[in-house]
């Protein structure tokens, strides 16, 4: 444990400036869309990652999409139960989001093209603080 982590543990009111700062990113899924080339960058940016344009507009990511690629990790870092299914998702209407699959009984159900939606879940606990963010759940085909 680092010194600042220890101090934060001892503090009567733990706080995380990082997550406070990232609020629009984490919970509101705010990214940017380039007015020149249309590239969607997430989290927000002032300069387009693709073409370098300074003309960026706020863009809220949609919560649904399809699996672009995935893997089934049997050796995740401490704190996660194996296997985890890591995915990169093509969001409906453009943009990508990277994350973990949740609520899947059998990892083999996940394929390229599988429809998924974001759900708010506890991502991690750091120094007594719970951090929430989005994971992906498989969408039942109608």
């Amino acid at each position: 444990m680092t010194m600042w982590e220890r101090e934060r543990m001892q503090s009567p009111r733990p706080a995380s400036p990082l997550f406070w700062r990232l609020n629009p990113t984490v919970y509101h899924l705010l990214g940017s869309k380039c007015s020149d080339c249309g590239h969607i960058t997430y989290p927000q940016t002032k300069i387009c990652h693709k073409c370098g344009s300074f003309n960026q507009k706020d863009h809220q990511l949609p919560k649904t999409g399809k699996v672009h690629t995935f893997c089934i990790n049997w050796t995740p870092p401490p704190g996660l139960e194996p296997p985890t299914v890591n995915v990169i998702v093509d969001l409906d209407g453009g943009g990508r989001y990277v994350g973990l699959i949740t609520e899947v009984a059998n990892p083999e159900e996940v394929k390229i093209g599988t429809k998924v939606e974001m759900v708010l879940r506890r991502l991690l606990n750091d120094s007594g603080l719970d951090f929430y963010g989005y994971k992906f759940r498989l969408v039942e085909e109608a």
Binding site: I72, P77, R96, I112, L124, G133
Partner: protein
């Protein structure tokens, strides 16, 4: 600026890679440097070195062994007083350190310089190194993406590519396994390699799944090691050796930092950028290269890189592998005759410089006969790619003629 014809390698030094708990960073550095100095045919006085670049990756935030400055080299090699910088640029650190040294000479600033990379990868247990390098469940919010680092790590990054290679390019897990078979076969004969044993496709596929679709034997090991090279002005090279090897092209390319920005998962544009720049500088085409040391941190990565460097069309590497095209003995273009990262090991900053050592020896034909590749044009290429989203790559091309 082209470097072709301006810079020569006069000596290289490499220590056998492995799990070297009995050796500290400093002693590895000294061993590599001493063998490098002794390797210079007509003798070499270390006082001729006018500048140095030191590669070390594990000092940074990922493993956090503490930042080493240029003072580490200056002190343990007795080179105080000259400019020495430490450089860290992901997995291409070794090849990028070499590039910086080459530029130091090509610019006219220095006559003789040292490029050295060293790494203690095993002083932290594996599960806490490359895997936790992904941040872990309690890890940081690197890249400011809220869930990016959730359960990420080296195998995950490459498995995300491998899944797409199977889907779009028709690769199979057997194809990935064949890369391990080839490279371990090459590594058996290499005295510097960490894992000197043969494997079969069946053995790779029956090894534990680390991250589907990658098995344990699809992954390179985390390794301790050190490697270095001394480069000098091409017109001074004959003072040190009658058989210098010349730098033809040297480049580093960067692509998007993060996985979610990538346009696709069947190529690594960083490799394409670096390879094209280096080949343009050298004035050569991919077919002019006799042999190549290509980044194979995971078996599927080698297939991607072979294609991205331009040795074959996209989607062809695994088919040519099956036909033996990349084999050391009877292949048309041997890839990783040293055993590659797969068998040789991957001490990040030492990896690229180790590749350059191998290419230097191959081009001078001073290698165990069983390992010697048949030379046609006398040109060899070394390549690394890495970073969080595999967005940085370095390529160096060296040859027998300036």
């Amino acid at each position: 600026m082209s470097v072709r014809g301006k810079v020569a390698i006069i000596g290289v030094g490499l220590i056998p890679f492995g799990e070297l708990f009995h050796k500290g960073l400093e002693s590895m550095i000294q061993e590599a440097f001493m063998s490098c100095v002794k390797s210079v045919d007509k003798g070499f006085d270390p006082k001729d070195i006018k500048a140095a670049w030191f590669g070390q990756w594990s000092g940074g935030g990922m493993i956090g062994q503490g930042s080493r400055e240029g003072t580490t080299l200056g002190t343990v090699l007795g080179l105080r007083g000259i400019p020495i910088s430490r450089l860290e640029n992901g997995c291409p650190t070794g090849n990028d350190v070499f590039r910086n040294a080459v530029l130091g000479v090509a610019s006219g600033a220095y006559d003789v310089v040292l490029a050295l990379g060293a790494e203690k990868m095993r002083d932290k247990p594996g599960v806490e190194s490359l895997v936790a390098a992904g941040g872990g469940a309690g890890g940081g919010i690197l890249g400011l993406h809220p869930s990016w680092m959730m359960g990420m790590g080296g195998p995950v990054l490459q498995a995300l590519y491998a899944t797409r290679q199977m889907h779009e390019l028709g690769c199979t897990m057997e194809d990935f396994a064949r890369v391990a078979v080839k490279n371990h076969h090459n590594g058996v004969a290499c005295p510097y390699a960490e894992y000197r044993f043969e494997v079969t496709v069946e053995r790779v596929l029956s090894s534990p799944v680390v991250c589907w679709p990658l098995h344990l034997l699809d992954c390179c090991p985390q390794t301790d090691g050190a490697a270095c090279a001394i480069v000098c002005r091409a017109d001074l090279a004959k003072k040190y050796t009658d058989k210098p090897v010349y730098v033809l092209g040297s480049a580093t390319g960067v692509d998007y930092k993060d996985m979610w920005d990538k346009e696709n998962f069947i190529e690594m544009p960083a490799t394409k950028f670096a390879a094209k720049m280096a080949m343009d500088m050298a004035g050569i085409k991919p077919e002019d290269v006799d042999l190549a040391e290509v980044h194979d941190c995971f078996t599927n990565t080698e297939l991607l890189n072979i294609e991205d460097i331009g040795f074959c069309k996209k989607g062809e590497a695994h088919k040519l592998l099956k036909e033996g095209y990349w084999n050391r003995e009877d292949g048309h273009k041997p890839i990783n005759p040293s055993g590659g990262l797969k068998a040789h090991g991957h001490p990040i900053a030492a990896t690229g410089l180790g590749q350059i050592c191998e290419n230097f020896w191959q081009l001078r034909e001073q290698i165990e006969p069983v390992r010697q590749v048949k030379l046609k044009k006398g040109i060899a290429l070394s390549h690394n790619v890495g970073g969080n989203g595999f967005g940085v790559s370095s390529v160096n091309i060296i040859g027998r003629e300036p």
